[in-house]
């Protein structure tokens, strides 16, 4: 066994839960150090005598480790040995040490030991009083960007990696009967009880092992070290199938209806990169029938001058480092306390063989088990006194102590100075009520414990242990047991046998309400007395805020930044409120508290994103012919989640070349489009026809079987939101098509009207979008091509425009619709999707002689624009009704039922004469293509602001017409045929166009009637 303690100057020879046989090497700020398995990064740094772990946010003062858990405000690290594995904002107190760990301070600029910024602090910090954001940096506004980068650097919130994280973060949905937050004595007792009763239990704890406060205490349970009881409970719990134990797991959010989010560190606690295939972090999304909060309490430090010097720590943290990690973070200790409990720290320090200079107790006559124990050890106790100031430059070297009055707010004697390198303080314990606040419960002040406890809640929530202000182990265990029994009763489960372990009998005297130690100078002149270390909020700052008229604690918080950001007021909030209350001459409950938001500690973006990244970021939907498109070099366009073929460039073709070729081939011979993505809805029932009449603006009563019809769908406001062709398959049976992007919305639209407005109509809707593969062959040779693949008569006589017929195409039963979105003779072939690719390939087999050309969505857009056909969502934007589109032919105002949209499109505003109307736009220079979105003006020389009369919605180069074609809105445009309109562009050009019919090609429709 090699014990390399040589450089770990503060490491004790024995004791603690670390494994001295397993040394670990880590790098901190570029230097190598040693620690042991079981250490946190914080305990290892302290073992190595590293005092300064950061520079403060505003004043750039040196800061050391003050706590041992989630409440640590200073030791916030950037962890990661490679660029890709950087994690910012890691608390050193929560990071398990592993071999090869690389950490650096995040708020040192440029380095923590000698900080160029510290002149700000030395000038007395007057440059950055509270409210400095508002007062200084807002003016002049133009300087904000300069200030921002300066503040960002100074604030040191770490940095995101520049390379993508190689690790896997995922999410898991969990359900349980009882969710226990915290595996200290209360949580373990509750968990054991619930598990024995057969409940489904999840128990989570932020630390790497269960046990909570017991891990760092010297007390016994059942006359054995508490650690043995913990081991027994953990072993029993792990035997239950329905118990999920989550160490290294922070319950970060408690949301409505007992939904909790837990960030589990799976491997990132132990390795820079997750071993192959393993998950680095997992976000558990838990739905719990009952929640037991056993989150414990954080010890409050006291507020005194220079209380941020390294060496100033929270009392219990000192005990934790001693007892759990075998680290004495100094040599000569002064303990300042307002209660008995903290005496344990002096006892532990003494028992570790170190020197306790004095216990400074603000109370006149302390008594109790721990006080007596201190006296027995001969430790000097200064009663009725407080430490008013710490001295030192980079570490505490001495402290000033003064006698205080009964209430602790006036110095009543002379100041003495004592040498010490460590100053531990305790102002009592603040229950960790953060999670209970997340669901909106207001905390309640409890005078007995001088802290806030969880308020009334609408959640199925129970609490146990120190969160309730219950601090004695005996009572904490009892509360764990009884909370579990309450939960079990609610769940209808029987109570199991559960004996409470026997705990030490401890008597504690009454604590004193003490938060802010007075100084010989007024607060504003005294050395800085920090309340919130992380945000550099001082007692003087809070007093200033109160003097400046901020009376609500919420305003004081925002003005001073107390409890902001990642800190969430874990250490400082109560002290800050007490100081504000005193200034405002109120009690703390009268002053109120701010409440806490999720998340309790910072969560990595990896955990939030989970697997919804990279290829899995969003579903990609494919048609049955997708592989063919890929094989034939298609470029794809996203339409909703669909990947649609956009165009098919050949060899070195530019996009425009490909489009020209596709357009010409289609109009000259035959082209083919994969239209499978169009929404398709099967509609059946005797009232199907009536229903169609209500949801479409046009008439459906007389559409015969075998026929198709185009329809416009409007909202109740009369505005068009979708369109498509619906075919009558049989008297009570229709097939509706929708736009690709509108399919889901249209189906819900039909359902909501059927379910909530017209349930008496006998009709059912079923999506068949995915069931049918749809391929449209279009062009003068499309019939000849189809004839090669079917025996059915598809002549003009047998199958007229807007007819549909069942037939067999390429051996596959098909439904073929003679409808056209190009203005050419077209057939839309629908086959069961498992045969889509087969039929598609057969079409190419037989289509070679006609130069069958695949075309994508872009050519489809051009071909339809040549014909003036609209695309809902491109030529409509939710503010245009059918008349605006010049589509009065698609509105049947005389239908007996007042169809959806009818009333809306007759509102006063909808019948104005100068509404924007969709028209064709013919550029005077045929070679110029208008940019879509360009705004038109009638007089380009008019003074600014020039009245804008409407924008271009669709605009393309038409290879068929050898000129540009465009559509757009123009105010009163349908009455302005032949008039000029101008499009001034950002680059200074003004494009002149003539307002015309949107039908550029074949206005009589002769091409499709063949």
């Amino acid at each position: 066994m090699t014990q390399d303690l040589s450089k770990q100057s503060n490491r004790l020879q024995d004791g603690g839960r670390i494994d001295r046989s397993k040394p670990l090497t880590f790098t901190y700020n570029g230097k190598q150090y040693k620690g042991f398995e079981g250490d946190t990064l914080a305990s290892a740094l302290l073992a190595n005598g590293v005092d300064i772990v950061g520079r403060s946010f505003k004043y750039s003062r040196p800061r050391g480790i003050v706590a041992a858990g989630a409440e640590e405000p200073n030791a916030i690290m950037q962890v990661g040995s490679t660029e890709a594995t950087q994690i910012p904002n890691v608390r050193a107190t929560q990071q398990s040490l592993y071999n090869g760990l690389v950490a650096s301070t995040t708020n040192g600029w440029p380095n923590v030991d000698t900080d160029l910024m510290s002149w700000v602090g030395k000038v007395g910090g007057k440059m950055m009083p509270p409210g400095f954001y508002y007062k200084t940096f807002m003016y002049p506004k133009s300087m904000w960007e300069t200030y921002e980068s300066y503040i960002r650097k100074a604030a040191g919130l770490g940095r995101a990696p520049k390379e993508s994280d190689p690790d896997i973060y995922d999410k898991m949905n969990q359900h349980c009967d009882v969710m226990i937050v915290g595996a200290g004595p209360a949580g373990l007792m509750a968990g054991l009880t619930a598990a024995r009763a057969g409940a489904r239990v999840i128990i989570a704890d932020e630390q790497n092992e269960f046990g909570g406060s017991l891990l760092s205490s010297t007390e016994t349970l059942n006359s054995k070290p508490a650690a043995e009881w913990i081991a027994e409970v953990v072993e029993e719990l792990s035997g239950f199938d329905d118990v999920l134990m989550l160490p290294n797991s922070q319950v970060n959010g408690y949301h409505d209806h007992n939904f909790l989010t837990i960030q589990q560190h799976c491997t990132d606690q132990f390795a820079d990169r997750a071993p192959n295939g393993q998950i680095a972090q997992r976000l558990h999304r838990v739905r719990a029938k009952w929640v037991i909060l056993a989150t414990g309490a954080h010890e409050r430090p006291l507020v005194y001058g220079n209380n941020d010097l390294p060496g100033c720590m929270v009392a219990n943290a000192v005990s934790t480092y001693l007892n759990r990690y075998g680290v004495a973070p100094g040599k000569d200790l002064v303990l300042m306390t307002s209660n008995d409990n903290a005496y344990r720290t002096a006892l532990d320090w003494h028992d570790a063989g170190r020197n306790v200079v004095a216990i400074v107790d603000s109370r006149k006559n302390p008594q109790g088990t721990f006080v007596e124990a201190a006296r027995e050890r001969g430790i000097s106790i200064l009663v009725g006194s407080g430490v008013i100031e710490a001295h030192g430059s980079k570490r505490v070297s001495s402290v000033s102590i003064a006698p205080l009055n009964e209430t602790g707010d006036v110095i009543v004697g002379s100041v003495v100075k004592m040498a010490a390198d460590t100053l531990a303080t305790s102002g009592g314990w603040s229950p960790v009520i953060h999670l209970s606040c997340h669901t909106g419960a207001r905390p309640v002040w409890n005078d007995d414990i001088l802290g806030f406890t969880p308020g009334a809640t609408a959640q199925k929530q129970l609490t146990a242990g120190a969160i309730n202000g219950t601090f004695s182990t005996v009572q904490v265990l009892e509360e764990g047991l009884s909370a579990a029994c309450d939960a079990l009763a609610h769940l209808g489960l029987d109570k199991p046998d559960a004996a409470l372990p026997e705990a030490d009998d401890i008597e504690e005297g009454k604590a004193m309400a003490l938060f802010h130690i007075p100084h010989t100078k007024p607060t504003s002149k005294a050395p800085k007395q920090f309340v919130d270390y992380q945000n550099d909020v001082t007692a003087a700052g809070i007093e200033l805020a109160c003097r400046e008229g901020f009376e609500s604690i919420e305003h004081v918080k925002r003005y001073t930044a107390m409890g902001f950001g990642t800190d969430q007021g874990k250490l400082g909030n109560i002290n800050g409120m007490a100081i504000a209350a005193k200034m405002l001459k109120q009690t703390i409950p009268e002053t109120g508290t701010t409440i806490f938001r999720p998340n309790y500690t910072p969560v990595t973006f990896g955990a939030i994103a989970g697997r919804d990244c990279g290829e899995l970021f969003d579903p990609k939907r494919y048609t049955a012919m997708h592989a063919w498109h890929v094989e034939h070099g298609a470029k794809f366009e996203d339409v909703g989640q669909w990947k649609r073929a956009w165009y098919y460039p050949q060899s070195n073709e530019s996009m425009q070349d490909a489009l020209n070729r596709e357009c010409l081939a289609t109009r000259e011979s035959v082209g083919i489009l994969d239209a499978s993505t169009l929404g398709k809805i099967d509609i059946q029932g005797k009232d199907a026809r009536e229903f169609l009449g209500r949801v479409y603006s046009n008439a459906w009563a007389k559409l015969p079987v075998g026929k198709c019809r185009y329809g416009l769908m409007c909202g109740e406001d009369g505005m068009v939101f979708d369109d498509g062709v619906t075919s009558c398959l049989a008297e009570n049976h229709f097939l509706m098509t929708t736009t690709t992007g509108g399919a889901a919305h249209v189906l819900s639209w039909l359902e909501i009207y059927h379910q909530t407005e017209w349930p008496e109509l006998e009709v059912y809707f079923t999506s068949v979008t995915d069931h049918w593969s749809t391929m449209t062959i279009s062009g003068p040779n499309s019939r000849k091509l189809l004839e090669k693949l079917t025996d059915y008569d598809v002549s003009k006589e047998s199958m007229a425009f807007m007819d549909w017929k069942p037939m067999t195409v390429a051996g596959v039963p098909a439904r073929v619709f003679r409808i056209s979105f190009t203005g050419e003779l077209s057939f839309e072939i629908n086959v069961q999707a498992n045969y889509g690719l087969h039929v598609w390939k057969e079409l190419f087999e037989k289509g070679a002689e006609f130069n069958l050309t695949p075309y994508g969505t872009e050519t489809m857009h051009i071909l339809r624009a040549e014909k003036g056909f609209i695309i809902a969502g491109q030529d409509t934007d939710g503010s245009v009704h059918p008349f605006d589109l010049g589509m009065s032919w698609a509105v049947a105002m005389k239908k007996p039922f007042s169809f959806i949209g009818k009333r809306g499109m007759q509102r006063e505003d909808c019948v104005r004469a100068d509404r924007k109307q969709l028209v064709g736009l013919k550029t005077i220079d045929p070679n110029v293509v208008l940019p879509e979105g360009a705004q038109g003006v009638l007089d380009p020389k008019a003074p600014i602001p020039v009245p804008m009369v409407g924008h271009v919605t669709s605009s393309y180069w038409s290879a068929n017409l050898k000129r540009s074609v465009a559509m757009g809105f123009v105010k009163g445009g349908l009455d302005k045929m032949g008039e000029k309109i101008f499009y001034p562009l950002a680059d200074g050009r003004v494009i002149e166009a003539e307002i015309c019919s949107a039908v550029f090609l074949d206005p009589k429709g002769e091409r499709q009637n063949v």
């Binding site: 209806h257 007992n258 939904f259 819900s748 359902e751 379910q755 407005e757 007042s898 009333r903 509102r907």
Partner: protein
Amino acid sequence: MFHIYCPHCCEYREEEEFHASGQAHISRPLDPDACTDKEWGEFMYFRANPRGIHHELWVHGAGCRKYFNITRHTQTYEILEVYKVGEKPSIVANEAK
């Protein structure tokens, strides 16, 4: 994240299966053509925003695709009742002021 009892599936499901569809009990006027512009505007656009008890229309979109009503407390987010379309809520806000 709400936990919502679907009255059609007869069990609680996660909120992500559902979709809120606005205020409940907004009936389409039976004779829209007889409505004034103001009446039609009120039907279309004006909705309650109460502090306290509110009735909402939801749909179990990823589940049974059925619409149903929820009575929800807008401060505590408690769902006090769910009931099917066409049914009346048994819990309503106290209108007395």
